[in-house]
Amino acid sequence: MSNSIPEIENADLLLIFGYNGADSHPIVARRIIKAKEKGAKIIVVDPRITESVRIADLWLPLKGGTNMALVNACGNVLINEALYHKEYVGKYVEGLEDYKTAVAKYTPEYAEAITGVKADDIRKAMRDYAGAKNAMILYGMGVCQFSQAVDVVRGLASLVLLTGNLGRANVGIGPVRGQNNVQGTCDMGTLPDVFPGYQAVTDAKARRKFEKAWGVKLSGRIGYKLTEIPHLVLQEDKVKAYYIMGEDPVQSDPNAGEVREVLDKMELVIVQDIFMNKTALHADVILPATSWGEHEGVYSSADRGFQRFKKAVEPKGDCKPDWQIICEIATAMGYEMKYEDTEEIWDEMRGLCPSFAGASYKRLDELGSIQWPCPTEEHTGTPYLYEGNKFSTPNGKGQLFACDWRPPLERVDEEFPLSLSTVREVGHYSVRTMTGNCRALQQLADEPGYVQLSVEDAEELHIRDQELISISSRRGSVMARALVTERVKKGATYMTYQWWIGACNELTSDHVDPITKTPEFKYCAVKVERIKDQAGAEQHVRDEYAKLRKQMGVNV
């Protein structure tokens, strides 16, 4: 996020794009409500009625998979109605002429035909957005999990640049990132192209620094991305082993059938986790790790804030903290890796990453949290980026971007007439490895899980609320409970991705964004069918659930 989560409360306008705070981050959702109470205008872009839509001043209910067309139309209005901040753009931004050409055909009327959003609502949204003193954009997976994702992120950033909403408090653009510490894993270099602190593996100087510190030779080649692995294993036979930590790809990656095939073909699969999960069923070796209450460390929040957390209880049973397991594996493989505690690891990392250098344990304890960049121990962190409107481009100027809209890579047709988007629900976290083992949360929302569908579609298909139904795509078929709701529009369905029985990733497609290789979780074609024998279906669900629990040794 360019700005901080607490600043959300002080914005005059929030443009929430493909982000459902109440279900993904209830703590951030509280800030959105506080902003509203303090008088902020709320504009929400979402195909479904979410809690934010409920309190919004303006709702743009776009069709799934049409983000870029809408963002271009927003740019078109800013340009054609001369709403953009000419002085700011003149001083700090480049590429205006190309941008104008690229968005020229995306008039609100042109976009209405694609997105289904009323042309006048697009105009009104942009007049409000450009007119607000301090406006902030929040976006989520409704932007990133499409085959056209990076383009939309850059398109949204262009709206921010055009209106000069950067470089000061209570403005900016916030990708409110998925899970706890997903920001931290990126900060620490678990991406295929960077070392810790976003230092490129292709940068020879950075590479030499890490080689010297670790006493090894490092590759300057960019690694594989997660979603490239299935192809590399099944078609090219290039990847032979998989070491999976705190991740359940059979549950969380698209096209689960293919993921299982990949795991079974690999020569070695190691899973390091706190409980059994679907991926661990395919592992050759399972390394039991401690959970968050049983060890210490540092988390990064979505707004770049480092926070220390400490051990609350002693671990039980045969398990170790992740860092100790890694050290022992490395040592056994011939590279002696030894640390006294997590602080020693953290200090080594700080020494190698200039933008994290000042965030020592001592300073973190004193300040509670530190947002990077924090170059020295005297520095108190950076709540918002781009002070003085200097950007991290070669000439320091912000770059405008627009390109043509591309539809999702799978389309609905006669055989699979409905769209499926995968979403979150408040009671379960990620793949439910933790929350599925908490009895109270499990009971509030239990297997086989739900398919949200519109009242109109339910009527047409003769489906009653809470009935078991069958939902299928070109890749698979699962059973789940119908959740018939006015919040969903005709033609669309939604499922949360943590269920073992109603596992929506048996259905999702493995199309990805060309740059990030993030899967198109938000759009695939499905069909929904009524099940006549409800008693038989209920029994089938109970049997399947019992079988899985037995396989995993779950007694919760």
Partner: protein
């Protein structure tokens, strides 16, 4: 005589984010004898809340008992298991026969009928058995549950637990007095 009116809990839908913390804490404080000790994650009994989060096109909020002065549930109870007690309407769960009349009588849908639990175990009916393919089997006792304003807990747990402070315990006499005073202030400012 607003001083004798029953209190009740009500939610502000503009503040509710639908997180269900109220449901969990409601269950937790009412099931101390059902092994809900350290953490609700370790419970054996099913989660039975006495307020219900509802979601619709335009609303998200928990709905619970209004503790009506002329309570239709109590008026309809065939065996007198629902009574007025210290400014609240309560169900005697041991007397309840599960006839469901109160569920139908309540205009808010604030009453639900669910299995009874004691010490983490389902309570079994004394005589009634259920016919099954294995012969006659024991049947779990089902009783009516509703909000009792946390009578054994002190103040309503949902009000204190809500992270949004979306729930309020309304004490009608105080609320009336507050509004009278506010009206006076408003009139005064209109005059000046």
């Amino acid at each position: 005589m607003s001083g004798t009116l029953n209190s009740f809990v009500v939610a502000n839908p503009n503040q509710c984010i639908g997180c269900k913390v109220c449901e969990i804490v409601c269950f937790a404080v009412h099931n101390k004898n059902n092994q809900v000790a350290m953490s609700v994650g370790t419970i054996a009994a099913p989660v039975i809340p006495r307020l219900y989060l509802v979601r619709g096109e335009t609303f998200t909020m928990p709905i619970q008992c209004r503790h009506c002065e002329d309570a239709p549930c109590a008026n309809s109870c065939r065996i007198g298991a629902i009574k007025q007690e210290d400014k609240r309407i309560v169900i005697d769960e041991n007397d309840c026969i599960g006839c469901k009349t109160c569920l139908l009588a309540c205009p808010f849908g604030a009453i639900d009928l669910l299995p009874q639990f004691k010490d983490g175990e389902a309570v079994i009916q004394a005589n009634l058995k259920e016919e099954s393919e294995f012969g006659l089997e024991e049947k779990v006792k089902t009783i009516a549950y509703k909000c009792d304003l946390c009578q054994d807990h002190g103040e309503p747990a949902c009000v204190t637990a809500c992270p949004q402070q979306a729930l309020t315990l309304v004490i009608p006499a105080e609320e009336k007095k507050r509004r009278n005073r506010q009206a006076a202030v408003n009139l005064l400012s209109a005059l000046n």
